[in-house]
């Protein structure tokens, strides 16, 4: 396979794998966080405002790691520097 095809294949495969694997662990962690929050809400409904706020902040922190994976996937698909460089080099070679 030539370099252009190799870059394309690896980019596409890794983009899919990044989102696939990267969203598994945050989902599990968020499930555990919500379960703990529900338990404490059932034990102390008076503190529901604090618990809810802390839950949302915690969920946002956990979600961040999934967002990092998503951003890497988007970069690989839409703003891939290696692909752009290879395309420019191939265009220059074809233009000569």
């Amino acid at each position: 396979m030539d370099y252009l095809g190799l870059i394309a294949v690896v980019s596409i495969v890794m983009a899919g794998l990044t989102t696939g694997f990267g969203t598994m662990a945050p989902a599990l962690a968020e499930g555990r966080a919500v379960a703990a929050a529900l338990t404490s809400l059932a034990q102390q409904p008076d503190a529901s405002a604090t618990i809810t706020r802390t839950l949302f902040v915690g969920l946002a922190m956990i979600e961040s790691t999934a967002i990092y994976c998503f951003v890497v996937t988007m970069i690989l698909i839409f703003a891939n520097p290696f692909w752009n460089f290879a395309i420019a080099a191939a265009a220059k070679a074809a233009g000569q």
């Binding site: 405002a49 604090t50 706020r53 949302f56 902040v57 946002a60 979600e63 961040s64 967002i67 990092y68 998503f70 951003v71 988007m74 839409f78 703003a79």
Partner: protein, 236 residues
């Protein structure tokens, strides 16, 4: 497919580009400033108010109460900064219902700028509260070995703020764009509603995290004990 509103350029002169992000940011600034100016022109202290004044009062007092709950003892001092962060991000996300509007927070430039504002504001508030020596001393707490880790955590949480907001806003817009080309009628509307919800949550998260960082920077480590008459923690 466009990754961010940065790529839609209206006017260009050498290095300066007027792209969609800047235009939408200006539109939001105009809406916020003009709306607030118009509403606060005839403020009434009576029991009856106009509904717009009521709306602003609800928003401002709710934000002040949240800041106080975080642990910042004088919420009015931090309300301009944190309130502006929240209002800007929330309005940017809410306005995505206007057709043709793309949230400027869907561009890494805007979110990086907001995160840099927080990065600068945290030491400013810390020095204002604790003095320069006191604030710098907080970097070597609890032990001197923690100094590089504290510095790294400062930088990385700023980066996390920027990327979190950018990722959420950009993914919302992109999902809707992709779905419109696949199933045009029902799903894009559902996903737009979900994007509104996550936009409001992310606006809340951004400002609450900024408040938490400021509270950590202005936190005074004084020895405290429980006051027997009121059962609360007071300084010794």
């Amino acid at each position: 497919m466009r990754l961010s509103p940065d790529e839609l350029i209206f006017w260009q002169a050498g290095f300066f580009k007027l792209n969609a992000t800047i235009m939408f940011t200006w539109a939001l600034m105009l809406a916020l400033a003009l709306g607030s100016m118009l509403i606060t022109r005839g403020l009434s202290k009576e029991l009856t108010r106009s509904r717009w004044q009521n709306l602003l009062e609800i928003v401002v007092t709710a934000m002040a109460k949240q800041i106080e709950d975080i642990g910042l003892p004088n919420p009015r001092r931090y309300l301009p900064f944190l309130g502006t962060l929240f209002l800007f991000v929330a309005l940017s996300s809410l306005s995505s219902v206007i057709p043709g509007f793309e949230p400027p927070t869907g561009s890494l430039s805007t979110t990086a700028a907001l995160a840099l504002c927080v990065f600068v504001a945290v030491p400013l508030f810390g020095v204002a509260e604790l003095g320069l020596g006191g604030y710098l001393k907080s970097y070597i707490e609890p032990t001197f070995i923690m100094l590089p880790f504290n510095i790294i955590s400062e930088v990385s949480r700023t980066l996390a703020l920027a990327v979190r907001l950018f990722g959420n806003m950009m993914s919302g817009a992109m999902i809707v764009a992709i779905l419109v080309s696949i199933t045009p009628f029902l799903f894009p509307i559902v996903m737009t509603a979900l994007g509104l919800l996550t936009g409001m949550v992310q606006a809340y998260i951004f400002s609450i995290l900024a408040a938490v960082y400021i509270a950590a920077a202005t936190h005074r480590n004084v020895p405290r004990k429980i006051d027997p008459s009121s059962s609360r923690l007071v300084a010794t």
